[in-house]
Symmetry: D2
């Protein structure tokens, strides 16, 4: 059986487990105050070009979104997101549990375009002294998006400008950031991400770590008492060094970028093969997730030998499915899959 269900089916980039095993009996300070976390923080700040940022390591993506959004927004504020955004659909109401409305706007291939935000802000009954509407104080985007698509640098800058014009913060969900930075033909670097956003996170869970996400607050003033906010959300890992060790390993010798880039390369090879064999791609994704429209009979046949994700019904006879590569996917896996399709 071949597995292409998701990018979180395997353990970790091997250097991580080796390191954890090696230091298993070391005594470390808890709650992220250890040397590995400090080292990882420094490496990330350097790579992102934001020396004044504050970096904290959390366990998972939904948790990170709840902590960051809940920690930054005031009670009466909400966050704008694409209607396909992770916080809009697949986080079981985690943002609302924290008291905040997710204001959903139409997406374009999974992306939230600056024009949509602008259009909304124009209809927003904007006088703070009398509005009956939730005050939009933050824009949330995912890069890459939940559909594997990526923003261009210009698109990000356009969003930044709308945010500035309306006093909104920009938060970039980077659950799969590595695959975005390593995407085909992208002009967006991790320094751009840091530079354009107010806060973002670098996803580890789906990109080489056992688990973990690194939150980078490029302007720390927007998230005071961050430590307490993390604790209050049940997101403070007692053995914080487990996260430090992982990100320290991933940000050593460019590992994070290399393993994700390799996964993108394999995914694009797969995309090319699908196209050549006459399959219809649901979306033109330049990252590690590929969405294909399969005839239902073909899908049934294929699923005997390959495991992939159901995405949605396309029509009566066809279905959209997702194939995801990961840092652990091999050339051999891809070759076998190409033979089968």
């Amino acid at each position: 059986m071949l597995y292409f269900n998701s990018d979180y089916m395997e353990g970790a980039y091997p250097a991580i487990l080796e390191k954890l095993s090696k230091i298993n009996f070391e005594k470390n300070t808890g709650y992220g105050e250890d040397k590995y976390s400090k080292s990882a923080e420094e490496k990330i700040k350097k790579i992102c070009g934001c020396e004044n940022a504050r970096v904290k390591f959390l366990v998972g993506g939904t948790q990170t979104n709840a902590v960051v959004i809940g920690g930054i927004l005031r009670t009466y504020e909400g966050v704008i997101a694409a209607d396909t955004g992770h916080i809009s659909v697949h986080e079981a109401g985690a943002i609302e549990l924290g008291g905040h409305k997710v204001i959903t706007l139409p997406n374009k291939y999974g992306k939230l375009m600056a024009e949509e935000i602008e259009r909304y802000m124009n209809t927003f009954n904007g006088d703070e002294t009398n509005t009956h509407m939730v005050y939009p104080a933050m824009v949330y985007i995912s890069h890459p998006t939940e559909y594997g698509t990526i923003y261009t640098k210009k698109e990000l800058m356009d969003i930044r400008n709308v945010c500035d014009k309306n006093n909104m913060l920009l938060y970039i969900d980077g659950a799969r950031l590595g695959y975005g930075i390593g995407a085909e033909n992208t002009d967006v670097t991790i320094k751009d991400i840091a530079n354009i956003s107010d806060v973002f996170y670098i996803g580890g869970t789906k990109a080489g770590a056992l688990f973990g996400e690194a939150v980078v607050v490029t302007n720390p003033n927007i998230l005071p008492h961050f430590f307490t906010v993390i604790k209050q959300h049940g997101a403070l890992l007692a053995k914080g060094w487990l996260l430090g060790v992982q990100f320290d390993a991933l940000f050593t010798d460019n590992a994070y970028f290399e393993i994700t880039k390799k996964a993108v390369k394999l995914a694009c090879k797969l995309k090319k093969a699908f196209i050549e064999k006459g399959y219809k791609m649901y979306i033109d994704s330049p990252t590690n997730q590929q969405f294909v429209v399969l005839e239902n009979s073909k899908m049934a046949e294929l699923s005997k030998e390959v495991s992939f994700s159901f995405w949605e019904k396309y029509d009566e006879n066809n279905t959209v499915v997702r194939f995801a590569t990961s840092w652990a996917t091999t050339e051999e896996d891809i070759e076998k899959l190409i033979d089968l399709i």
Copy 2:
């Protein structure tokens, strides 16, 4: 330097890391639907004697308390706890963030006694049709407590009876449950814990796991949609098998109970030495945490060679400090410490 600061300074019981390394490239289903989680669940249900329970694995203690309490209570309900309870003081308001009041009652050596609860319920303006007070729907206790003390079986049964009389659920925080089951002279078994409570958790983070807590809902009806509640709290680990593997290893060959019992034995040996050398114990703890009153000068001297936790000021000249053993503490560590005191 010797380290007795806490029971979460080291990595994991070695069998855990070995297993994780061994299966690193295995493809596993996410979100706890994997075979390791299922196996661990079965073992735990068997050991606890509650075949109809529902078991879920979460990452940390505060998170577990927020998920369990927030998932069970209705909006208007609160939870009773000792004023020294973890949820009362050291969770940064995680329970309140979920909208629920922690109703704090006086403790007795860290324990919440049935009489206190009864006294409160007598003053509670109890008519549901007109009360202006938070409705107490759950009692929270820790076993062992935050002060290392333990309940007797009779004390637990007395609390259970007060709960029954007042239609309250009983939740036992077992962050250090292993050390409680392995305590000196205890008459409480893990089956008693399961039998007496409505829901409890078996702490892994402080007892052999890298991280992880196993929630056991002995009456699953009280926590419907548990999966979604976990997700909503940002507490659903993508690679859920990481938790499954750990608890599966800990509940194989009685490991969990043996490693915690050993830690208790070493802690009690230390206690005995302290007493023999004329030190004053702040509390008579039969578990892995020992609280000693040190003269400030002695404390300063000792801290050159031993690392321990400041607990609180005792008086002008004396301080309460905590020495904690863990599954990783050795006889040799204890001997060295005894030589120093």
Copy 3:
């Protein structure tokens, strides 16, 4: 100047103020335990044909929605509403403040159709044991809607059936219920509203009261500890008899239905005049709110002598505005307005 901005610009149906003045020095029990509240409750239950219902009086509409939805839903549950629904747009995030997602679906002239709900439920990843989505446990509709439109009895029954099929409760926001019951050509009675919904409210603020909404929980089991829930939401009026007196007066001698019916009659007379004079109605409303498309120049001219509400831009040269009648609107007001248009 003529005023048609809204239906809450005047005080109260005169019998109310007369009664309040008459009993001003009477000593009444607080918190709704008074004789007037009891009398009003009995009258409402009788008129609605639901003797087993529980009736409580609250102060305003947003408050009522927050109390009812927040009091009924469990943490992980959300409420489905039209994207134009009051809770979706104009309550400043009151439902989200209580922790619940408002799941918005497309509207049809302000109405949420059964088909839309059904379509959503079909895409809902419905297995309770593994969904990452908010669990839709309630459907919220307004009758009349925010656009003055009304449901037919069949449309309501269709929604009821979708609710039953999916174990969802049905909540009807009746902020302007009187105007709906008194609408042109409606086949929906207040008994139907009570019979079809699980909970609804009868709006007083916009229909003859100084303030106040009467919540009718036709199945009281869904809202236990209702009193405490009200108190917890800051919605318990100390002098509850103020509400009791008002609803008692409104439900004496059919007053509530007569005054709202008269307002509808005047609004429809106005609609007819607009149509006869060649204006374009934005929506065909059979209730007390009329939405007209005005040329901007006409709008400017008219606004010198009439006050009405801006609703939204229609296009570059035209604007949608609202004219609302109320229980206090007179034939004379309408005649004057018709002369002006």
Copy 4:
């Protein structure tokens, strides 16, 4: 029957109902944007000596506490209150529903003393970068307290100083503020209240209004978007002028202070009579609430002719009960009661 149960058993100071009746058909702008609210705001700012304050009118006390505290505090912040404070006990968890912990400290006759706050802040693990405790950002006191007692000006200043030292805001709950300003031998004026606190409210419900509380934010920067916060809490009255009219009447010709002062005078006359006849006062209250220890048999006898409030059991044979006067209490009522005791 004589009624001394509470100070909210009657309607309103007569000028209020007269005015409401007079303007019943006037068309007023909604949501507090009317002329009466503006007039009342100006009068209050002048009387309080705080021209730069922002004044908003809300409906009730618990609502006001939830709006003010929830609107000002950030997620991770809590509020310190006496364990007898209204928000600590009798608001059904309204503050916690908003996500904030009420940190309760021991009271002294219902008062929270500066020393207690200071003691707590000394034990608070205060480093913002690592605390696991709720961050105390506000102190809540009631003046008069729930036990009728009042602070001296020096006591208030001491609290202010502790607040300043610890960067905490001071919020004064003035549900019965009129009775406090009019208390026997007080040295605290309403200007002092405004000057010493960051935000406070002037209670109307219990002091002459049908309902209503005037929030005075002396430093408006601490509560941005106040209008939206009010709406979000379901606390925005559609016909806001109902509140404006009431406070405008109460703050015309010193009415608010005169009617409350009279009530205090009658209460103190009653206290004197109790003492002279050998009754034991539970607390020495200089305001409109008097707490008396009654023998149970005496209580039973008295309750045949007088209605009063049960407060708490004193011992087996005695009970604490409350007698409250209000703006509507007459000399005659008091004389009759004195005859009975």
